[in-house]
Amino acid sequence: MTIPGIISNSDIVRARLKHSWLENQLLNKTSQEVVYLWAETGWPALENEFSERVKDTLNLADDLENGFSPAQLVDRLAPFAKVDQEAKELIKQAVHEAYLESSKISDFRMPLREDAMALGEALDELHKAWQLPVTEGHEQILRSVWQKVSIKAKALHTILERLPKGVVLP
């Protein structure tokens, strides 16, 4: 269960990766459109941006437990303002442990890492194919590598969709 209206930093990252990267830059393209970019306009995001998004995803995976933890509310919600720091730390630790137990958030870490790395590899392959000298059948190679990218992007999108949307209550 998440708290409506309370957004964690990890949630901002999750939403940005899912929408602005996967949906708006990868999953929205057909192989024909990718070939068009290759032949006509170039694709600066493939050169400069996508490797950063893979890193963002790995960081999200590494910080998964803390990112969606209700412990962060203790520092943000008004009722805790007057509580002294030592008590706050104790409360944080207790809710965090309860949340880890009930949410099973840690179970997402490995699949998220693996899917992010798999997509990263597919994007590297696409990047290499992008730079190959133009030969007959080059388009076919691009289409085939793009298909792989699409499958990996879809898998990562699925797991990002399954992540909590906001801070999780224990």
């Binding site: 957004i7 901002i12 990252v13 939403a15 940005r16 929408h19 602005s20 990267w21 949906e23 708006n24 830059q25 929205n28 393209k29 459109e33 068009y36 970019l37 006509e40 306009t41 170039g42 694709w43 600066p44 995001a45 400069n48 941006e49 996508f50 490797s51 950063e52 998004r53 963002d56």
Partner: protein, 577 residues
């Protein structure tokens, strides 16, 4: 001028490659940099990021958006046809790769902007852009367009549904051919609705008086539907009741001696569209079978046991009051609901006067082509005279009047007001509703009286002609010549149409012109080039002219139109009697 679209989306300002791909998907051009790759653009697009960049920080800013909207919303500047507004805008410090790191309020910035736009530009048409699928967005109150699988057709539909458009822009978006005249608000609304629903497989019921162009609209829906199969039209009223079932469902080979198998209209339309015109005239027993075919998506030929699977889009039309017929038990309620998912109503021609002149020009050109004539024109006064008529027979009546005018004219003739008046008077005489007494002329010599309106057959013709009193008066003869020439030619063309229809192959639908002309002339030796020469004579064209299938269909159309007119008048007069 193309429809102008303002797209407010942070992504396109950041990423030129995405911007270009989006234009290709919409088949649109950017107004500041038209793309040579898009040759027939649907619309012209202006992008707005909705953001301010300061150093390495990007901020979402409504003021940027308000300024962009106002630039195309002032009285002196062309209006936006539509504003497309993204929901999520990424803001904050720009990280590696150029994407801002994001803020909690980014998620719904578009929704906030929509509220502000509503406050500041109350009439502005706004559609939200979303990454979610269209099915998930259908239930929302605000209009949404899914970016998922967005293409030109969906974009056109969205513009037609929500856009603020001029008549020319609507025609442009509808992709109407020049010979389909749609100019009045009511007809445009009907065609807009038709386009929006054309892609789905829902049934459509087209209402309208006879001759309003219901079949043209049905054909348009089929053209826009993307269905690969053929468009098959059936005028239910023109088929004898006993033959209707076999016409619709086909006949199994060998059900009786000498009977060859034949596909029905449902089978012929498989993969395409079946248009049942005048469905209100369908007998109840046939209605049951049509209903079953629609429910089960399969049919059985008459005498057949093997089911034929169907993938047919059904369009129906009627000039009758089906709801009233249901109350009287003359039309099945369950079939009515099955065929009436979407209802479109074509207004009568008298309620769309602005279409009369352009329609007349289209028909004049068509008749000129068919008659092998060039340079026929209507004078300004002639057009004005045409616009004064009420057209109880609607577009079909106008077409008949113009065809008659054209067939009586020579090339490069300007058809004047007087000629039009004569044609209209003869049409008005035709349309006046005679009472029972006037229907029959008493012959002074005691011979049989002849009906001067419907249901005369060819067999009646010799007797009818022998009863016509011809005065030996040069003035009368001179005045009669033009109208007689036209009437005889049209009559002969209708007989030729009927002969061609008789000689249509029941399985393939192809027309045997040689056999038809043999039937028409009674000359069994008519072979080689002679059938084509005979057809050219009937059409009033040079004998060496190449006869096309279109010419043959034109003759059949003339026959069919007159036949259905006779039927309608027979029904009306029957009621009056």
């Amino acid at each position: 001028m193309l429809p102008r679209i303002l797209i407010i989306d942070d992504q396109f300002a950041r990423d030129k490659a995405e911007q270009e791909l989006f234009l290709l998907r919409l088949n649109a051009i950017e107004s500041v940099k038209p793309s040579p790759k898009v040759t027939h653009p649907v619309a012209e697009v202006v992008y707005c990021s909705g953001q301010q960049v300061t150093g390495n920080t990007v901020n979402n800013d409504y003021r940027v958006i308000r300024e962009a909207v106002a630039s195309g919303w002032a009285e002196e500047s062309p209006h936006w046809s539509l504003v497309m507004l993204d929901v999520r805008f990424d803001s904050g410090a720009t990280g590696p790769g150029g994407l801002p790191e994001g803020q909690p309020e980014d998620e719904h910035f578009g929704e906030v902007v929509r509220q502000y736009l509503k406050r500041d530009f109350s009439d502005l048409p706004v559609v939200m852009l979303s990454g979610k699928r269209q099915q998930e967005l259908a239930e929302r109150d605000t209009p949404y367009l899914s970016k998922d699988g967005l293409n030109e057709q969906a974009f056109r539909r969205c513009l037609l549904r929500h856009g603020l458009l001029s008549i020319d822009q609507i025609r442009h978006l509808l992709g109407l051919p020049n010979d389909v005249v749609v100019l009045s608000d009511s007809t445009l609304a009907c065609y807009r609705e038709a386009f929006v629903h054309a892609r789905g497989n829902v049934s459509v019921l087209i209402l309208g008086e006879t001759g309003t162009g219901k079949e043209v609209l049905a054909n348009y829906i089929h053209e826009c539907s993307g269905r690969q199969g053929p468009f098959i039209g059936v005028n239910v009223a023109a088929i004898p009741k006993d033959l209707l079932e076999s016409e619709l469902f086909g006949i199994e080979k060998g059900i009786a001696t000498g009977v060859s198998g034949r596909r029905g209209k449902f089978e012929q339309a498989n993969g395409g569209t079946l248009f049942l015109d005048e469905i209100g005239d369908m007998p109840l027993d046939a209605q049951v079978k049509v209903l079953r075919a629609l429910q089960e998506k399969k049919i059985y030929r008459v005498g057949g046991e093997k089911a034929v699977e169907l993938d047919v889009r059904l369009l129906c039309a009627t000039s009758r009051n089906l709801a009233g017929m249901i109350e009287q038990g003359a039309f099945r309620e369950d079939l009515y609901y099955r065929i009436n998912t979407i209802q479109l109503e074509l207004p009568p021609l008298r309620k769309r006067q602005e279409e009369i002149a352009p329609l007349a020009r289209v028909f004049l050109e068509k008749a000129s082509r068919a008659g092998g004539k060039a340079g026929l024109e209507l004078s300004k006064e002639a057009v004005q005279r045409l616009e004064t008529h009420a057209y109880p027979g609607n577009v079909r009546e106008l077409e008949n009047i113009v065809s008659r005018l054209a067939s009586g004219a020579g090339s490069y003739q300007v058809l004047d007001q007087e000629m039009v008046s004569r044609a209209l008077e003869s049409a008005s005489g035709f349309h006046s509703a005679p009472d029972k007494k006037e229907n029959y002329r008493d012959a002074s010599d005691g011979s049989r009286g002849y009906p001067n309106i419907p249901n005369l057959t060819l067999k009646d013709l010799p007797d009818l002609l022998s009863n016509i009193n011809i005065e030996a008066d040069p003035e009368t003869l001179r005045a009669a010549k033009l109208t007689l020439d036209v009437a005889f030619q049209e009559f002969l063309q209708r007989v030729a149409g009927a002969a061609l229809e008789c000689c249509r192959d029941p399985v393939t639908g192809s027309l045997n012109r040689q056999r038809a002309m043999q039937l028409l002339t009674g000359n069994q030796q008519l072979k080689g080039k002679e059938p084509a020469r005979t057809i050219n004579r009937i059409l009033g064209r040079p004998l060496a002219h190449t006869v096309s299938d279109q010419d043959l269909e034109y003759l059949i159309d003339l026959w069919k139109t007159a036949a259905s007119r006779q039927d309608e008048r027979g029904i009306k007069d029957g009621r009056q009697c």
